[in-house]
């Protein structure tokens, strides 16, 4: 299963590279008049999709009694991180054109970038501690640390909602999926108090 998921996870990246190569060779491409922005949005959207997929693993495992699926969770999480990093890098490269003073301005002054940036900062320790050695070393603390994802997901969704200008359909679809995945985690607590 792992190689298949790995290959599938690389497909968006491959598509992105293919489009960038076509663009720079002057061939037909799907990036439109503002390719920089198209690439930033493309990678951002895939980061969010992989984040939601990562959070699907546990519910799927429990509901369908399918323990093997847990094996791809780390990979999905790392794909989320990869696309998030590409999202930010392409933003810095293509939209800010490496004007780092503007980056700090943006992060400080623009709330949707502030939350997006915070979410990325939160992903870094999770990616860094995703290897087996760290899992073993951190033991119980690893689980606590990785609960950070339950804060990161709402931040990412707020980032999406705040950058939406007019049609909230897409933001609402992602938010509903995200809310369901978080609610699933809250079940035991709700049951206990009820």
């Amino acid at each position: 299963m792992k190689p298949v998921v790995f290959a599938a996870g690389l497909l968006p990246l491959g598509y992105c590279i293919w489009q960038v190569v076509s663009l720079s060779l002057g061939k037909t491409h799907q990036l439109g008049a503002d390719p920089g922005e198209a690439i930033v949005l493309f990678n951002g959207e895939w980061a969010l999709r992989f984040l939601l997929l990562t959070l699907c693993v546990t519910p799927v495992r429990q509901i369908f009694r399918w323990p093997e699926i847990a094996r791809i969770r780390r990979m999905l999480g790392l794909f989320c991180f990869t696309y998030a990093v590409l999202h930010v890098c392409s933003y810095i490269a293509f939209l800010l054109e490496f004007q780092f003073s503007d980056l700090f301005q943006d992060v400080l002054k623009r709330p949707y970038i502030t939350v997006g940036f915070t979410a990325l900062m939160g992903l870094i320790p999770l990616a860094a501690t995703s290897n087996r050695w760290m899992v073993r070393r951190l033991k119980q603390r690893w689980r606590t640390l990785h609960r950070l994802i339950y804060i990161i997901l709402p931040l990412v969704l707020v980032h999406l909602i705040w950058l939406t200008r007019s049609d909230y359909t897409e933001a609402i679809v992602y938010s509903v999926v995200g809310a369901l995945l978080l609610a699933y985690r809250l079940r035991p607590y709700l049951r206990r108090s009820g």
Binding site: A33, K109, R110, L163, D167, Y168
Partner: protein, 337 residues
């Protein structure tokens, strides 16, 4: 005076062929930041340039009388020496939320949007009001080509060869009364033909409404547009009749107009209603007043290329200060953004 400082001097020059576009780009690259200073609006006597054309098939059809009228278009006095954005980008990268919110949506979804017959209702504080066919609206006005910069509120910009006639000339015909202080414009409302108007979670109230102060509407730069690159407007660009206000952010340039009203009260415009802290009634291009979510100090000239800088400084009133700055001499532009 504060406004004058930001506006470059007026200089006349000709327009580059589309074929020379790429060469031009390289030249401009080496010119670097000098570009900002060169990018100027132009007032000349009789322009020597020819009306720009393209050789692609335009989506949508147009009646014969319109085709003939477009054929008689002459180059107008307003132009710029900046490279003109190629036709395919002007027509495939659009904000026209009635046809979808992605930039490519309008060119896809407006394919079957037929704009003949079309009529426009003139109403409000004017001596002549009523329902007019598009032909009646256009008949007395000779068409001219003007090459304007278009600065979107989203911080990208293009250079577009519009075909149209001064809004002031149209307004004169309806003899607005002394009560007419503002002009209100409305886009077609037809959810059957405009899929974006059917969206359930839209933050926008349709029909789309825009407005201008009377002195803004009668300014020489305010243009009623029916064509683009020598031919009729494709539907995604606002066929068959749209407004172009080059010193204001693009959303003021309302598309597919069906209603023009002269009114004593300032119209509440669509974006103002949707997010009053982000979009004001005036919406003048102003590098000193940021949008709450992004800076307006610079803009990205489209089409973008990933590895060559296309970012340039935004000019006060989009560089049209000499023509329009006097309209706002008494206005606090920070508060009235």
């Amino acid at each position: 005076m504060l406004i004058k400082r930001n506006t470059p001097a007026i200089k006349s020059s000709e327009i580059t062929d589309e074929q020379l576009y790429i060469n031009r780009r390289n030249l401009l690259k080496t010119a670097g930041t000098a570009l900002g200073a060169m990018a100027v609006p132009v007032l000349a006597n009789t322009p020597k340039r020819k009306v720009l054309r393209h050789d692609e098939t335009v989506i949508g059809s147009t009646p014969d009388w319109m085709q003939e009228k477009l054929g008689r278009t002459v180059p107008g006095n307003f132009s710029t020496d900046e490279p003109v954005t190629p036709f395919e980008y002007i027509t495939k990268y659009n904000n026209f939320y009635e046809f979808g919110t992605d930039k490519e949506d309008p060119s896809r979804n407006a394919k079957d949007f037929h704009t003949d017959p079309w009529s426009v209702e003139i109403m409000g504080e004017a001596e002549v009001t009523g329902q007019f066919t598009l032909e009646d609206i256009l008949r007395p006005h000779p068409l001219e080509e003007r090459i304007y910069r278009l600065r979107c509120v989203e911080a990208w910009s293009m250079v577009v060869p519009w075909i149209g006639f001064p809004l002031a000339d149209l307004i004169k015909r309806f003899k607005p009364t002394s009560k007419a202080k503002y002009v209100r414009f409305e886009t077609l409302f037809d959810p059957e033909r405009m899929p974006g108007q059917r969206s359930f979670f839209s933050a926008i109230d349709y029909p789309y409404v825009e407005g201008l102060r009377m002195d803004e509407a009668t300014n020489e730069l305010a243009l009623m547009v029916v064509g683009l690159y020598g031919q009729h407007l494709p539907p995604q660009n606002g066929a068959p009749l749209r407004l172009v206000i080059p010193w204001k952010y693009g959303f003021k340039s309302i598309k597919s107009i069906v209603r023009i009203e002269f009114t004593s009260r300032r119209p509440r415009t669509t974006w103002e209603r949707s997010a009053p802290n982000e979009y004001g009634f005036y919406a003048n291009v102003n590098p000193n007043v940021d949008h709450p979510r992004w800076s307006q100090a610079t803009e990205r000239r489209l089409p973008g290329s990933l590895f060559r800088p296309q970012r340039m400084e935004t000019m006060m009133f989009n560089g049209y200060g000499p023509q329009v700055a006097h309209l706002y001499s008494d206005l606090n532009l920070k508060r009235n953004f």
